[in-house]
Amino acid sequence: MPVPTAGHTTESLTTWLAERIALYLKRRPTEIDPDVPLAEYGLDSVAALSLCGDIEDDFDLVIEPTAAWDYPTVHALADHLVAELAAQDGGA
């Protein structure tokens, strides 16, 4: 899976998240509608916690494991990550 390095946008993060979640769910990324809650695809609340490790690994960004509970769709989560990345860059 390609690892984005800089200039993250909502679009690039949406793509990354859809690919990652598709991997978890054994589906194709195109099957993941970015506006449908992840729970509706069968990603349960505990499984969603795993995302934080992948996000930290690929983006060097530490987020709460519960981020996917507070931002339950791919779009919402992508927006959250963009904001967090911007805050991190601003703070660095």
């Binding site: 978890y24 809650p37 069968g42 990603l43 795993s50 690994d57 519960t66």
Partner: protein
Amino acid sequence: MEHRPYRLAEEFDHYLGDPHDPGEVFSYARCADLDDREEFPADICRRFEEWGLPEQYVPVEYGGRLRDYEQVLQLVRAVARRDLTCAIGHGKTYLGGVCVWVAGSAEQGARLGADIIAGVPVSLGLTERAHGSDLLAGDVRTDDEALDDSGHWLVSGEKWLINNATRGSVLSLLTRTRPDGGPRGFSVLLVDKRELDADTYRHLPKIRTLGIRGADISGIAFDGARVPKGALVGAEGAGLEIVLKALQLTRTMCAALSLGAGDHGLRLGLDFAEERELYGRRLVDLPQARHVLTGAAADVLLHEAVALVAARAVQAQTAELGVTSAVTKYLLPTGTDRVLADLTGLLGARAFLKGVHADGRFQKLVRDHRLVGLFDGNTLVNLNSLVNQFRSLVRGFRRGTGDTAGAGVACDLTAPLPPLDPSRLSLIARHGSGMTASLPASVDEITRRAARNPALAPVAEAARRLLAVTTAVHTDMEEYQGVLTEVPPAAFEAARRYTLCWAGAACLGLWTHSTDHVRDDPATGPLWRDGLWLHTVLDRLLRRLGEPAAAGEETYEDLLGALRAARTEGRLFSLLPQRTPERQPATTGGAAGGSERTSC
């Protein structure tokens, strides 16, 4: 070395008196009688309160004496060693309070602390009749999304299979506060039944059970109960997160129940083997009986070592408690059930008899302990929570990350523990397990020591084999790290094997970090010198991992010597010294029926 948690547990145990003395409130005979009558051990619980056990459930910041979780572990173990019904019935108050310790306000903590210290039973209301372990399916709800005009939640619905639901005055209640639910749709309400209108709630009848028959396993149904807004624990919508974090603490503390059960079962098995004569020989002199006893003894020490490290890790390695607690809550109940099953073979018919042998304690113990693997997150729930963390566990093991410094503190019995900081609890161990990441360093350490002390060579060899297996197990785990939705049986098997590896890393860490401080103890030093307990424990773990044996009969004979010495000297068979309050056993080799009584 004086280890404070064992000293206080010894004091408490002596306060409770000789359990063989039917004149004592907390005697074996009394527990058997209460069990027969399915009656709650209220007078025994009052003895705990006279001594001050409830204060040990309340953190120091809320007026109690709970600072080190290791201390609670040893105190509850002392109760569980006599009777699991009492340990579960009384210890439930700790479970009831823990959501507040994790996320409550200072005022809630102080108030609840005062109640608990005054002896008020507290309960934890999670499960419901139709939903079992699926917490997000809960139907106990607030009728309106918002508070009513007078600032109350209106709570309705039924919680079922709740320990202390009827006796408890205060209840931490997982409640649906958004109609559509979801992981942010639930909140914890600290419901004080004393403040509710009597016609807005009712208790469900006590449920008859196979084990812990005297416990108050019942339920509670609410119908528009008005709960003040101040009852909200933590943030609205944070209920699931709070409960999952609280369960990390309680699952670790459940180890005390299995430890006490293991102590009790092993003692019954040993006494029987010492006293029973067959074909002109005592049972303890027959090879098969020795084999069963020494295997059980090794497992009891394995469980003690894991629980010791895990209880210290609560404070030393808080962010990884999601792994520690799952390993502990899986390994100790299943391992202890197995110890009891093996000892059943040794006791034969007497394992099943009521009244005839030793107050029927063994059959009661087996029935009571069966429950421990079911409540507070069952075996499959715990393995599943490890499967969910495979990704970070595999990554962490490869990179050697995780809280290795914290693992060192957990394993060094002389290292002071930092106070628990609940804000460090995490639903996932982000960087893997510092315990398994420390394994290579511990293997190096024991290899170095073996170079100076040849008696350690086979132990160091077993440690190196454990590291090789652990590496292989992580390769298996990698294969299943993506299975987050439909977990295949092979992933559960990988998780089971992981718990054995974690346990081995904890035992090896405990021995390498602590042996220099404890090996000179006149009572328990022989278990530590030349790695005796560690050798048998690594052998047990490797065999359960499907590997060839790592220790021979002579090592187990040494362990049997230590087991028999502890009994003769009036000590608990344990890694650290603790005297038991029991009178000395009858002279060994006496008539087989000497301790048997006829039931009336």
